[in-house]
Structures are given as C-alpha cells and as structure tokens.
C-alpha cells in the first residue's frame, strides 16, 4: 500500500494542474490580504460614528470559495485525467486491486487538500488580524479561541469538497461532468434551497455543504435562514457523509465496471 500511496503522491506532484491549484490557493490568500488593506484604508478615512458600525468580511471566509473550487478541481482531475488519457488502464494493470487505488487517491487528495485548506484559512485569518491591527473592522473583534471551530470547519470543508470531486469523478469518469456536479453542489443548489417556502428553506439549507461550516461552529447559517437544523456534531457527521457517499459510490462503480 505504501508503494501505491507513493505513486499517487508522485502523480499529483508531477502535473501542472496541481501547480495551478496551489497558485489559486496562494492567490486567494493574497487577495484576502489585499482586501484587508483596502478595508483598512476605508476604515481610516471613516468618521468615528462610521468606524463604530464598520463591518468588513473576513479574508479567510470571503475568498474560501476560490480555494474550495480549486481543490475540488484537483480531486476531480486526480481520477478523470486518468480516464481521459487512458492511463487508468495502465494503473489498474499495475494494481488490479481497484479499491486500493481509490483509497490511495483519497488519502493523497485528502491530505493535500486538508493541508491546503487549513493552511490558507489559518494564514489568512492571522495575517488579516495582523494587517487590521487595532482597527475594529467587524471580522477581527471576536476572541481567537472562539473563532477556532469555524476556522477548523472551513479548512475541513476544502478537503471534503476535494473528496466529493474525487468520488464524483470516479463515478462519472468525465472531467466536465464531475466539475459541473461539484460546482452545482457548492454554488447552485444552496441559493435555490434558500428559496423554498419556510420552514423547508431552513431544513434543506441545513444539509447544504456550504452551510455546514457555520453549523459546525454553532453559528446561524444566515440572517434570513437563522439557525440550522443540525447540531455541531450533526453537521460534522453530515460533512463526513458528503465525502463518504460519493467516494463509496465511485469505488463500487470502479469495481463493477470494465475499464
């Protein structure tokens, strides 16, 4: 198994798309910091009354979708690029135990995206606070300890989306199909569920991937939707299911299908 893991790790490292993903993650960090500088300059020019009610979005939250999409793409490509090039046949001839191949891919994609997600979330958070200094800009007023669950859940969401991408990629085998599914799950479905009549909007929105982060942190999902239906532990389980279900489906299909 270590050999298969080493091979999958080398596969990820040795393609340009991974560098682009890392570039996007670094880009999200840089844009976040630029945003804090900009918001800080607005704060500096504001009257004391305006400063008292000033609320800017936090850099780690505002630009998280960039990171999520980037790692989602990485998860999808980890498997669909093999189907697109035919490499999957060479891979499965070298390792006929198909579950082992998927498990190794999941481990490598999971570890990589968890490191990227937590790294960029925590780096943006602390750099944002450093840049904000003693200005009261909304996002930097809560004590650090209270923010930790949300930061941890944000970084975790990046890994979950990458694994959703891998699982869907294994299931549908096409890059375009899997990417569309990931983006739909992330960005298209949540606003639509918010339009359902109450209380359905809150219930269904509670299980949307994008709303699990706030529920894990024990915060309300949004002003309009209010508290989610899930407890922090329940939301954490839901997040685990998001990764597990597509991965299980993808693995079953890969075992069953001809290559």
């Amino acid at each position: 198994m270590t050999g298969i893991l080493a091979a999958e790790w080398l596969k990820i490292r040795s393609v340009a798309s991974t560098q682009h993903v890392v570039g996007a993650v670094i880009g999200a960090f840089v844009v976040g910091i630029v945003w804090v500088f900009y918001a800080g300059s607005v704060w500096d020019d504001a009257t004391p009354e305006r400063q008292a009610v000033f609320r800017a979005a936090s850099p780690e939250e505002g630009f998280l979708p960039i990171v999520q999409v980037a790692l989602g793409v990485l998860g999808v490509l980890a498997i669909t690029s093999e189907y697109a090039t035919g490499l999957i046949r060479a891979t499965l001839v070298a390792v006929p135990r198909r579950p082992a191949v998927i498990a190794a891919k999941a481990a490598v994609v999971g570890a990589f995206s968890l490191a990227a997600g937590q790294g960029v979330v925590f780096a943006s958070f602390f750099a944002g606070r450093l840049v904000a200094g003693d200005r009261t800009m909304g996002f930097n007023v809560a004590p650090v300890a209270g923010e930790l669950p949300r930061l941890f859940a944000s970084g975790l969401s990046v890994m979950v989306i990458a694994l959703v991408g891998l699982g869907l990629g294994a299931a549908v085998r096409s890059t375009a199909g899997a990417l569309v599914s990931v983006v739909a799950l992330l960005f298209v479905l949540p606003p639509v569920t918010g339009l359902l009549p109450a209380p359905w909007n809150t219930w269904v929105s509670s299980v949307m991937l994008s709303n699990l982060v706030s529920q894990i942190a024990g915060e309300d999902m949004s002003f309009r939707l209010g508290d989610g239906a899930l407890s922090p532990a329940g939301a954490l389980v839901a997040m685990a299911l998001y990764a597990a279900v597509p991965l299980a489906a993808g693995t079953l299909l890969i075992i069953k299908r001809d290559v």
Binding site: L10, K11, S14, S81, T85, G86, L92, V93
Partner: protein, 301 residues
Amino acid sequence: MIEVHELSKRYGETVAVDALTFQVKPGHVTGFLGPNGAGKSTTMRAVLGLDAPTSGEALVNGMRYADIRHPMHQVGALLDAGAAHGGRSALNHLRCLALTNGIGSDRVAAVLEEVGLAGVARKPVGAFSLGMRQRLGIAAALLGDPGVLLFDEPVNGLDPDGIRWIRELMRRLAGEGRTVLLSSHLMSEMALTADHLVIIGRGRLIADTSVRALTDRYQRGVLVRSPRAAELTGLLERAGASVTAEPDGALSVKGMEVAAIGDLAARHGIPIHEATPRTASLEEAYMELTAGSLDYRAGVR
C-alpha cells in the same frame, strides 16, 4: 503461459468474444490476428483483468490476473500507446507505475535506456510522437522484467526503424523463454515476427497454428510455361500430377516438385520457359481464412 478458456464477452446484444479457447506458450512469439473488431483487444483486456468476462476465464501463469500480487513482475502489457498523462514526464510516468510494484529507480532508468528514450526522459509525454509513445508503453511493459508479455498493436505509428526494433525485441524476449503475445491486424507483420498464430474473427477462433503449417496448407503448386504445353500436360498427368491450364496458357501443376517437373520435361526434350513454385503468401491465407468474418468491409460491386 496464458490460458484462455471458453472466454465470452458480451456488450449488450453485441458478442465481442465468443467461447474463445487458446493457449500462449513460453519461448516463442505468438501472433494474435484478426480483422478490426474481431475481439483481440477485448480478449487482452480480459486476460489483464480490466474487462470481466461474461463467461469462461483467462489465466496467466495459472492465476486470475486480479489475484496476482505485484503483477508487473509477472506480466507486462502495452495496451494503447496514448495511455499517459501528456503533462507528465516519461520518467515520472514510469516511476508512478514502478512505485506501485516496488520497482526501483535504477530499473526505470534501465528500461528508458533500453527503449531509447533516456535522452528525452524528462520531457513531457505530450510532446512525444506516436512512435515515442509506443516505446514508452513498451518500457512500462518491461519495467518488472516479466515472463509474460502482451502487446496490442505495438507497431502502429512506428517508422521502419522502429518496426524492425520491435520485431527484434519480440524475438529476443521470446528467445529468453518468455511468453509473448503480439496482436496485429497485419499478417505481413506477423509473417516476419511470429512463430505461432492465433487467428480470430468475430470473436471466434479461426486458426491456432504454427506459421509453417499455415504456409504449407496454402501451397498452390507450381506455375509452368512451355511452348509445348499440351504435350507436357499429358506427361505430367501420367506421372501423377494434376494440371490445370491458366487463362494465359501457363500450367498450374499440383502434386509435383519443381525439380521433378524439370527432370521429366528434360527427359522428353520439352523446353521449359518458366517453373515457379507458388506459395500463397500468409497474407492471402489470412484473407481467405477471415473472409467470412469481416465486420467492416468496403462495398464490392
């Protein structure tokens, strides 16, 4: 040793392979021949555990492929030449495969050297020509130094030099006692490379024969030209040969060797202008064998 036993593969209504049984023995090159769509690739994928047979089985060294641990040490395969990520270097492509079977970097370097790609090992595979990709695929097949090798259409896209290189490589691998199965739809290529032939059409076995036996079976007699053809015909027939007249006046003689025909004519003072033993080329033999099983035939009026 590869054993295919009563192997069938159906895709919906289409029967790709139909109760196919044959063995590939070590020590010689076995050509796996058939028209496009005959089921060659499907059979090879079944042997490699990529496609699950509808019924029957395929064994390599007595085992199902999927049950072999670190199979690259026993079986090497070239399925399609394009099967590599275009952005990855040849070196990394091979290392990714080698790592899964515990094969070291020095072996990767050795096979790159052997197939002549050492100089471009760090170039992305996407920049490779089809011939270079075939060489990369062959390098991957050789990585584990396996005793059984399967090559699906390895000469596609190769230049004459490359074709000759493959031919010599196949013969050398078989000479080392390995089992070599080489698929092609070109009989002319097989005639120069293979010792044994497994010919299939529409998923069924048409012939499982040595190249020699196939050639002998398609002997077409001797073409003889003489200004005194009628006289010679009588003599030959009396000597036990069967003679048929060709439209252009030549004689087609069966059942007698060239030397015997010449001696007989000389004893009777009959001049001979031509005496050519006619062997059907393997190509013709193959065309005849597979004539009934072509899926895609150009319209003939």
